[in-house]
């Protein structure tokens, strides 16, 4: 008997918790509001099913609990009922899957006008590379990584010379411009994760992964690593600042290109060699 009451309380408590919860997702800062909508649809459908099943159970326990002389009904099967339940379930599942797949197809179709931004992860920091004036990133290879060339950019590739390198510093992005984040890792698996952007993707050494989004609100957003990458995993933080056009260009003007950095490094080495 107590169990029937508790089952009802579990449903009521869960619904109340959900409604009163101060714990909800962060205000969105990207174009992926569709993802949030699909999540809300899923919450509704699953919430109703959960409440219905558990309340039905509570009713059964209350109504059909053992009493002196009571006897269970005998009904091995009910084809009609079973078929109906199967069909209704299939419809409910389709109602969640269809919008999900539709949004996924958008998620993986990068618009043609998206700017490429490369994120380079290593234990335990974030670096970035933006294409220079030619709009193209130069080739890169982990084999080329060294103290002088920490991101492994190919010095032979002319496209790479004007690439803007942001090593272990904040990334700035212009608002309302779609970006394709190219994700690369120097060492182990990482995952570029900014909760407000909703999108995330693992970074795998040996390949370049990607996702795209459009920043829709200016501000400072924290970057976290979402794939266990060793003991420093929780401390692998970074900052993405979404700027308006003006601020973004001002920031960009202060950054150095790969060519400038290599030159400075060579000068630096020469200076060190002097007695």
């Amino acid at each position: 008997m107590a169990i029937a009451v508790v089952l009802v309380l579990v449903v009521v408590g869960s619904v109340v918790f959900h409604l009163l919860s101060p714990w909800w997702w962060t205000p969105i800062a990207s174009n992926w509001g569709y993802i949030d909508n699909t999540l809300v649809i899923t919450f509704w459908i699953t919430g109703i099913v959960f409440a219905a099943v558990v309340l039905f159970m509570a009713y059964c326990v209350f109504r059909f609990r053992h009493k002196e002389g009571s006897k269970a009904a005998y009904e091995p099967e009910n084809r009609k009922l079973e078929s109906w339940l199967t069909v209704i379930t299939a419809i409910g599942v389709a109602a969640m899957l269809a919008p999900g797949l539709y949004v996924w197809s958008q998620f993986i179709s990068v618009p043609d006008d998206a700017t490429e931004v490369e994120v380079i992860a290593q234990q335990w920091q974030w670096s970035y590379r933006l294409p220079g004036e030619d709009g193209r990133l130069g080739k890169s290879d982990n084999r080329l990584v060294s103290l002088e060339n920490p991101l492994g950019i190919d010095p032979e590739d002319p496209n790479g010379q004007d690439d803007v390198v942001v090593e272990a510093a904040d990334l700035h992005l212009p608002i309302d411009k779609p970006v394709k984040m190219l994700l690369r890792s120097i060492d182990v698996l990482h995952d570029f994760y900014v909760p407000e952007f909703r999108a995330k993707m693992d970074m795998v050494p040996g390949s370049v992964t990607y996702f795209w989004f459009t920043p829709t609100r200016t501000g400072t957003f924290e970057v976290l690593c979402a794939e266990l990458c060793g003991v420093g995993h929780a401390f692998m933080r970074g900052i993405v600042m979404v700027d308006n056009e003006e601020d973004y260009l001002a920031w960009l003007a202060e950054q150095s290109t790969f060519a400038q950095l290599s030159e400075a490094q060579q000068v630096g080495t020469l200076e060190e060699e002097r007695p």
Binding site: I3, V6, V10, S21, W23, W25, T26, W32, I35, L39, T42, T46, V49, F50, V53, V54, M57, C60, V61, F64, K71, A72, A73, Y74, P76, E77, L81, E82, T86, T89, V93, M96, L97, G100, L101, V103, W104, I108, Q123, N142, R143, I186, D187, V188, D191, P195, V204, P205, G206, T220, E222, L224, A226, L228, C229, G230, V231, G232, A234, F235
Partner: protein, 590 residues
């Protein structure tokens, strides 16, 4: 010449088996230690699994203490935290749940429920346990090895799993983990072949496949799946050992570790993930299907009503088992695999919800118009349905590829899989122990301690994992020993984390009461008699309780009916045992 024409031999073995075929043990050692009796092996398996499970439980307290009260416990460094989560996860999934359901319940129940005298290969069955024990000991050894156990997370993803940035990566930890898994799989295969062949070949006369209790269907299907899925993990372990010890590059691309170029090159970390999850997803159902089967029998017996839609239940088990082999990459939506895989795996994953939902409907419809006895097994069965429905429904979030993107690698995932494959199956394990303990020992478990255990465990576990989903919704990533100062995480999340920790400690304490009850009732429990629940299945009809070696005395049982003849109209009692010819002219199902 041997006559092989059909009809020249009996299609079913004779009911009477000469005593010499039973290989009765002759000494204390061969009766209780190196025993070939499936029932003794079952208890050995269960005892070992629960002992190592206790270690995993303690580890969960330690990591909850760190999450609830970060900075309070100096000895829980990030290294230690990652070692705790890794060992907790691997122990719970493989060494506790898999071993307990298949090695424990499988060994005890299969021969008894199908009406066999024992497993068909008793010697291999004994070896299976001893290799499992060795695997557990190797795993435990890693706690004492230089560098401690591996901290790579239970998924053991390379390249980090074998590199120095991960605890145990360049020490013994990862090696002992891989060796232990390899041993486990070898041991399991010996047991698993036994369970499958016993179900297929050693059933009593009249025990057709469609008369098997759903417990046997669940364990049987799970075992077939395990035999197909574990080899993927086996090769993944061997390849990773080669990468670590011999310098091969199965999973290792060219990479720079801490500023140093390593000599690896050309391997694929994603290949490991495919192999791991080709095992890892079926593994979820390897744990879930025995739970599905057992809970069906608990509900039917304690509601005094046949399981609703038996045939549909059998087909749902088989369908779930088959489908679970084509959904594995839903663990990898954000792994960097080809994005088109998302369409396929999201679709298969959500399709699997249909047979799963059918099972839930049939459980609750079994309660409808039943005669529900609120015994402890029934209470745990009800708790299973609640937690399983809850955890199954959040699976629809994570399975639906695009919804998974923001939620993956957050605490939402942790809450989901604990609810669905942690709490829910463990509710069934408890229910099953309260249900079968009288058969195993001849005594009932103490009811008062049992009720205390039930209420604290059910409400407490729900209080742990339901709010945890919301921590994940906020965006808190999993596998973070501390959240630090993070702008998007409000202080209230820390309060919630502290609450969850307190709930976890209380639930942990209730398990001590359960353990105490197991030993206390052995001596002081109420005498149970042969069939205290008035159940229909064969294990309750043995001539002795606990059943003797050989199970059935001189003559094997003959089966006349399905396992669910409860409350048959016109029958003198509210159950008819499977081996009871029963009065004539009753409605017959199968």
């Amino acid at each position: 010449m041997v006559d092989v024409t059909p009809g020249s031999r009996d299609a079913v073995p004779p009911a009477e088996v000469p005593d010499v075929e039973l290989y009765h043990p002759h000494s204390w050692w061969t009766t209780y230690v190196f025993s070939q009796d499936a029932k003794v092996i079952a208890i050995q398996y269960a005892g070992t699994a629960m002992a190592i499970g206790f270690v995993a439980l303690v580890l969960s307290w330690l990591m909850r203490l760190q999450l609830g009260f970060p900075g309070t416990f100096d000895f829980i460094t990030p290294e230690a935290y990652y070692q705790f989560i890794t060992m907790h996860g691997m122990i719970m999934v493989v060494y506790l749940l898999t071993a307990l359901f298949l090695g424990g319940f499988g060994n005890y129940l299969i021969p008894l429920m199908v009406g066999a005298r024992d497993m068909v290969f008793p010697y291999a069955n004994m070896l299976s346990y001893w290799i499992y024990l060795l695997a557990v000991l190797v795993l435990v050894a890693s706690f004492f090895a230089p560098g401690g156990p591996t901290g790579a997370g239970w998924t053991l993803y390379p390249p980090q799993a074998i590199l120095s940035g991960t605890p145990g990566g360049q020490d013994w930890g990862i090696l002992l983990m891989l060796f232990s898994l390899i041993l486990f799989i070898i041991g399991f295969t010996m047991g698993g072949l036994n369970y499958v062949v016993t179900v297929l070949q050693a059933r009593a006369r009249g025990m057709t496949l469609m008369r098997l209790p759903l417990t046997v269907w669940g364990i049987f299907t799970a075992t077939v799946m395990a035999l197909l899925a574990f080899p993927a993990l086996f090769v993944a372990c061997v390849m990773m050992l080669f990468d670590r010890l011999l310098g091969t590059s199965f999973f290792m691309p060219a990479l720079v570790e801490m500023g140093e170029q390593l000599s690896y090159g050309g391997g694929s970390p994603i290949l490991f993930q495919h192999l791991f999850w080709f095992f890892g997803h079926p593994e979820v159902y390897i744990v879930a299907l025995p739970a599905f089967g057992i809970v069906s029998d608990l509900i039917s017996t304690h509601a005094r009503k046949n399981i609703f839609g038996y045939r549909m239940m059998v087909w749902a088990i088989v369908a779930i088992g088959a489908l679970s082999f084509i959904v594995w990459a839903h663990h990898m939506y954000v792994s960097g695999m080809h994005p088109y895989f998302g369409f396929f795996f999201a679709t298969t994953t959500l399709i699997i919800a249909v047979p799963t939902a059918i099972k839930v409907y049939n459980w609750v419809l079994t309660l409808w118009r039943g005669d529900i006895h609120l015994s402890l097994p029934m209470l745990f069965a009800l708790a299973f349905i609640v937690t399983f429905v809850n955890g199954g429904l959040t699976g629809l979030f994570l399975g639906n590829v695009v919804v998974d993107v923001p939620l993956s690698d957050t605490m939402f995932v942790v809450a989901h899989f604990h609810m669905v494959m942690g709490v829910a199956p463990i509710m069934v394990i408890f229910g099953a122990i309260y249900h079968w303990y009288p058969k195993i020992t001849g005594r009932m478990l103490n009811d008062a301690m049992g009720h205390f255990h039930f209420w604290v465990t059910f409400i407490g576990a729900y209080a742990i994992f339901f709010p945890m989903h919301y921590v994940g919704l906020v965006g808190v990533p999993r596998r973070y020993p501390e959240l630090g100062e993070t702008a998007f995480i409000p202080d209230s999340v820390h309060d919630l984390n502290a609450f969850i920790t307190v709930a976890a400690l209380i639930v942990g304490f209730a398990q001590m009461v359960f353990l105490f009850n197991l030993f206390w009732s052995l001596r002081y429990g109420k005498e149970a008699g042969g069939n205290p629940w008035r159940a229909t299945t064969l294990e309750w009809q043995t001539p002795q309780t606990p059943p003797a070696h050989g199970n059935w005395g001189k003559e094997l049982p003959v089966v006349y009916r399905w396992a669910y003849d409860y409350s048959v109209p016109g029958a003198p009692q509210d159950f008819i045992a499977q081996n009871d010819p029963g009065p004539p002219n009753l409605p017959r199902h199968a």
